[in-house]
């Protein structure tokens, strides 16, 4: 199709067609549609000036092709936050219709209080709070807050990231339910929460060392961890048993990586 038009120097038309096709056909066909438009520009010097900008014109619509899952959804919460606290929004992302806001840790309480108390938002229900560990990032720890509003029926995810050893502000003052969630994040990730009334381990034994959900923590625990809690045979015996069981599952690589036991 584009070959018929090739000899014609008047450039506006072919790129316009290419742009039209690019918008109509599925994204996969787009690179092909854009390519034939470019070659005619090379033999005809006068059109060369016009063609490159025209060829680059179809490029901007390319980002929307990205992923239907990442498409933004209208969110009253984000609109209002943009108005009231524009500098607190570091990043807004979407996945499958769910909005996620990243805020600076120092402004977390201010943002959450705004979300909870604003008459149009009323996020009165802290559905979930959890931590995350990204060892390769500069600020490796994250705390995620999943908010829900019972009267308004909408959801929002708020995230902060923390440097190693930095404490997140505790939100127990806003939602008492955060108490155990924060204890769990402390227990499993070693994230501190400043202002928490009673920050102790919750799921692991009190005298446990290490934080199991950190990525460097081996799946089967550190050597010696089991000794006082499992009295079936020696520790060596327990490791050998686990290793055999996991090998049978086809997870040999995993065992070698974590490297617990030698037997």
């Amino acid at each position: 199709m584009a070959d018929d038009k090739e000899p014609k120097p008047p450039s506006p038309e072919p790129p316009a067609r290419a742009a039209g096709e690019g918008a109509a056909v599925p994204p996969a066909a787009k690179p092909e549609a854009a390519k034939p438009a470019a070659p005619p520009a090379a033999p005809a010097p006068p059109a060369a000036g016009a063609a490159p900008p025209a060829a680059s014109a179809p490029a901007p619509p390319a980002p929307p092709k990205a992923d239907p899952l990442k498409e933004p959804v209208p969110s009253r919460a984000i609109d209002l936050m943009r108005q009231a606290l524009p500098d607190a929004l570091l990043e807004v992302t979407y996945h499958a219709g769910q909005a996620l806001v990243r805020v600076p840790p120092l402004r977390l309480l201010e943002v959450l209080r705004f979300l909870r108390d604003h008459a149009d938002l009323r996020f009165d229900y802290l559905s979930n709070l959890t931590g995350m560990h990204w060892p390769k990032k500069e600020r490796p720890l994250e705390v995620v807050y999943h908010l829900y509003s019972i009267p308004r029926r909408h959801r929002l995810t708020v995230k902060i990231d923390l440097a190693e050893g930095e404490a997140a502000p505790s939100v127990t003052g806003l939602w008492p339910t955060a108490d155990w969630h924060e204890r769990e994040a402390f227990d499993l990730f070693g994230i501190g929460f400043a202002g928490h009334p009673d920050l102790r381990r919750i799921l692991m034994p009190d005298e446990w060392s290490g934080h199991p959900l950190r990525k460097e923590y081996p799946l089967e625990g550190n050597p010696g961890d089991h000794v006082q809690y499992r009295d079936v045979g020696t520790a060596e015996h327990v490791y050998r048993y686990d290793k055999a069981a996991i090998r049978g599952f086809g997870w040999k690589k995993e065992v070698e990586k974590t490297g617990t036991g030698k037997g």
Binding site: Q98, S127, I150, T177, H181, L203, P212
Partner: protein, 365 residues
């Protein structure tokens, strides 16, 4: 001589009425509870850590073992979360069958709760009656997927197989006999003076406290807060069905009992509608053989018999999740126990724990 100091005693982790390995450290003044400290973690199996080392389809059997009393709700929530993450549309027939399974599961779970709750309060008979009906449901599940407790009944993208021939008729038969059986339980408990005396006005939970403490499920609705995930954020085509969300007026143990009883009737309503309108067609969407969701994260919530069951998955484009978090309703509801028990008598603790209906496998993960 009187000794008037307060006493600290342990209830659990092996106390028969704590429904698992829940330990409550009670501070008592005579028989009155001054303070309570729940201690959990005795059943912590590190499922979230384990999930980071399993592929997505391999995680579903693990979800069975969280809330082992209502495994199908966990399956439904987990599969729904992964499907949302991948943008997969489940065929309508599979969605409807999932609703049938989930509602049968809700009835089975409430029946288990009813039997044990009444047993804790000294009414032995109800236990035998409810287990008789629960048995019918477990038989239905067994003929559907071969298991009676940990079902692994769904697959990402739909179901493994359609239901066996005649299965819907058996569900209809159950729906025919169940309302009469419900009447039997009600006759035994609803106006039973001992039961009412043990539960009415006990373990009061106000609506504000319930929301602030994140309580969900029947305890939240018994306090008069209208929040049912099936209505608020419908999933698996719950928006197609007509049903009421029963609400309580006082937020005491007796209201929590009434709400669950009414919920079982509403389950029957949903089941009848689902069976009547059951669509034909495939039961599994086209999903790739190796499931690798795109990088992103999702928080998917379903209404399990115990409350708001959340699934938070962070994927980085691999075949295993980077992070998997289960928002367990039992975990959050247990947190409200000290508030419910303060100032009550020791014997009321048993009634209150029963009315919160926690499963420690869900709580400790």
């Amino acid at each position: 001589m009187f000794r008037t100091e307060e006493m600290e005693i342990n209830m659990g982790p092996q106390h028969p009425s704590t429904h698992g390995v829940l330990r409550l450290v009670l501070q008592l003044d005579g028989e009155e509870i001054r303070a309570m400290r729940p201690v959990i973690g005795y059943l912590h199996r590190g499922v979230e850590k384990l999930c980071e080392h399993r592929t997505f389809p391999m995680i579903e059997p693990l979800t069975d073992r969280l809330d082992y009393v209502a495994a199908i709700s966990e399956n439904l929530g987990y599969c729904g979360a992964v499907e949302k993450l991948m943008g997969v549309q489940v065929p309508p027939r599979a969605q409807y069958i999932r609703v049938v399974l989930a509602e049968l599961q809700r009835i089975a779970s409430h029946l288990l709760w009813l039997g044990t709750h009444a047993l804790d309060l000294g009414a032995m008979t109800v236990f035998f009656y409810t287990f008789r009906e629960r048995e019918i449901i477990l038989d239905l599940f067994e003929s559907f997927c071969g298991a009676r407790l940990t079902y692994n009944s769904m697959r990402i993208g739909g179901l493994y197989e359609d239901v066996p021939r005649g299965w819907f008729d058996r569900v209809r038969h159950f729906l025919k006999i169940f309302p009469g059986r419900m009447q039997e339980y009600e006759d035994l408990l609803t106006v039973n003076r001992i039961f009412v005396g043990r539960t009415k006005g006990v373990g009061f939970l106000s609506a504000e406290d319930a929301v602030a403490w994140g309580v969900s499920g029947p305890p939240l609705r018994a306090s008069g807060v209208n929040y049912d995930v099936r209505k608020a954020i419908p999933y698996s085509s719950y928006e197609d069905f007509e049903f009421d969300v029963p609400l309580g007026a006082h937020g005491d143990t007796y209201d929590r009992y009434l709400v669950r009883m009414e919920e079982m009737r509403q389950c029957c309503r949903i089941l009848r509608q689902a069976l009547d309108r059951m669509p034909d067609g495939e039961v599994r969407a086209k999903v790739p053989k190796y499931i690798k969701p795109p990088a992103g994260e999702i928080y998917h919530v379903v209404e399990s018999p115990r409350g708001e069951q959340g699934f938070y998955i962070v994927a980085t484009g691999g075949e295993m999740p980077y992070r998997m978090r289960f928002r367990a309703p039992s975990f959050v509801n247990t947190q409200a126990l000290p508030m419910l028990c303060r100032g009550r008598l020791m014997a009321d603790v048993v009634a209150i724990i029963g009315s919160i209906d926690i499963v420690l496998g869900d709580c400790d993960r």
